[in-house]
């Protein structure tokens, strides 16, 4: 369903719940992908999407129409995800063999087949594990989510220079991490 987002937001601002339902149906998947890539966990990502849309409902009157709706939504999703990330103490146990195997598949072939959420989450967790929070967010938004630098700056409220330096450091760490993981896989074959 093609929606006119300006009208939908206008309706939501006036308290129209049907319009809000349409908004959720249209954008929840985008929000989920973003949350999942930050949290690497399906259930946590769903919780964050739910919290984010409740916040959107509550603060829709503060939405500035000059801003892209998705940028505003991603900002809310990221803030909720950061809260979740900080409050979540438990860590999933990751099967390194399985992750390395998947990484080798990606490395050797152009992987166009879908892999399970859990495996995808494990790959992201493992390669971004240990990154400082800012570096992780910049890396996920820029390289994995594929947003442009300006949008990343707006969502994370960071300067262009800060985004660049955090991204550079994150990429160097990820490069080293991947190199180790792939070397591990070669040794175990």
């Amino acid at each position: 369903m093609q929606m006119d987002i300006v009208n939908i937001i206008k309706e939501v601002k006036s308290g129209n719940k049907t319009a809000f339902k349409n908004l959720v149906e249209e954008y929840q998947e985008y929000a989920f992908r973003m949350a999942f890539r930050v949290l690497s966990n399906e259930e946590d990502a769903k919780d964050v999407v739910q919290d984010s849309f409740i916040k959107i409902w509550k603060s829709v009157n503060s939405f500035d129409a000059k801003l892209k709706f998705t940028t505003w939504m991603y900002k809310i999703v990221i803030n909720c995800a950061i809260d979740k990330l900080r409050s979540s103490k438990s860590k999933n146990t990751i099967n390194i063999d399985k992750v390395s195997e998947n990484l080798c598949r990606i490395d050797r072939t152009n992987l166009d087949e879908q892999i399970e959420n859990k495996e995808l989450g494990n790959i992201i967790t493992l390669i971004s594990d240990g990154l400082p929070e800012k570096q992780k967010l910049v890396f996920v938004l820029r390289d994995i989510q594929g947003l442009d630098s300006h949008e990343v700056e707006k969502i994370l409220e960071m300067t262009g220079t800060s985004v660049k330096s955090n991204l550079y450091n994150a990429r160097q760490s990820v490069r080293k991490k991947l190199s180790k993981l792939l070397a591990y896989e070669r040794r175990t074959i």
């Binding site: 149906e25 929840q28 769903k46 739910q50 409740i54 409902w57 959420n117």
Partner: protein
């Protein structure tokens, strides 16, 4: 050529708009094992992150998530409504309690004032030279020219409380209390001044008059 420079160019190749490396840099990478490893690692990292960008996490049961969001919204609205109702109920009860408190306090105040006035009037009535219907009563009543002051201008507090409505009584009592108190104080001061000025002979005369 320095390795740091080469590594920076390799980074730019995979992450910026550089299309290809200069021949000199390529030759360095071919001959330097460290830079060669760096180049290979960067290439793999780029390929994997690009693939991760293509691999989309799948939202299973999107309808369930939509329903959960709407249910959470409904719950939020319910809470908001019940919070408003609770607020009004509490406010209503507080106002009722405050009203009762004020009625009790002012009722008690009025009772105390009336009691004090009666006692004061009884004491004053024993003092010679202060008639019950002295002019200050009339002055007090000038606050209420339409209240039939003629009836109460000579009345004592004890008789007024039985005949007048509450509003008039309260205001009248307060005014009268102030007036009578100032009357007593001023009389005492006057007595002291008089006593200071009179001679012993005059004191004898006063005492003889009192005895008569």
């Amino acid at each position: 050529m320095k390795c740091d420079f080469v590594k920076r160019k390799v980074y730019e190749l995979f992450n910026s708009n550089i299309k290809q490396l200069d021949d000199e840099i390529i030759r360095h990478i071919d001959n330097c094992p460290n830079c060669n490893a760096h180049y290979e690692e960067s290439k793999i990292a780029k390929k994997i992150t690009s693939s991760l960008n293509q691999l989309q996490p799948v939202l299973n049961n999107p309808h369930e998530l939509t329903n959960n969001i709407l249910a959470a919204l409904y719950e939020l609205e319910q809470k908001k409504n019940s919070a408003s109702i609770r607020f009004f109920t509490i406010t209503k009860r507080l106002l009722a309690a405050a009203s009762i408190f004020l009625i009790v306090v002012f009722g008690y105040e009025q009772y105390i004032i009336v009691e004090k006035l009666i006692k004061l009037e009884q004491q004053i009535s024993t003092v010679p030279g202060i008639p019950v219907n002295s002019p200050h009563y009339q002055e007090i009543l000038s606050y209420y020219p339409k209240q039939g002051a003629g009836f109460i201008k000579t009345g004592l507090t004890s008789s007024i409380i039985a005949t007048q409505d509450n509003d008039l009584k309260s205001r009248f009592m307060i005014a009268r209390l102030g007036r009578l108190s100032s009357e007593v104080v001023s009389k005492r001061l006057l007595d002291q001044l008089v006593l200071l000025r009179i001679s012993n002979e005059e004191i004898d005369i006063i005492n003889s008059i009192k005895n008569e």
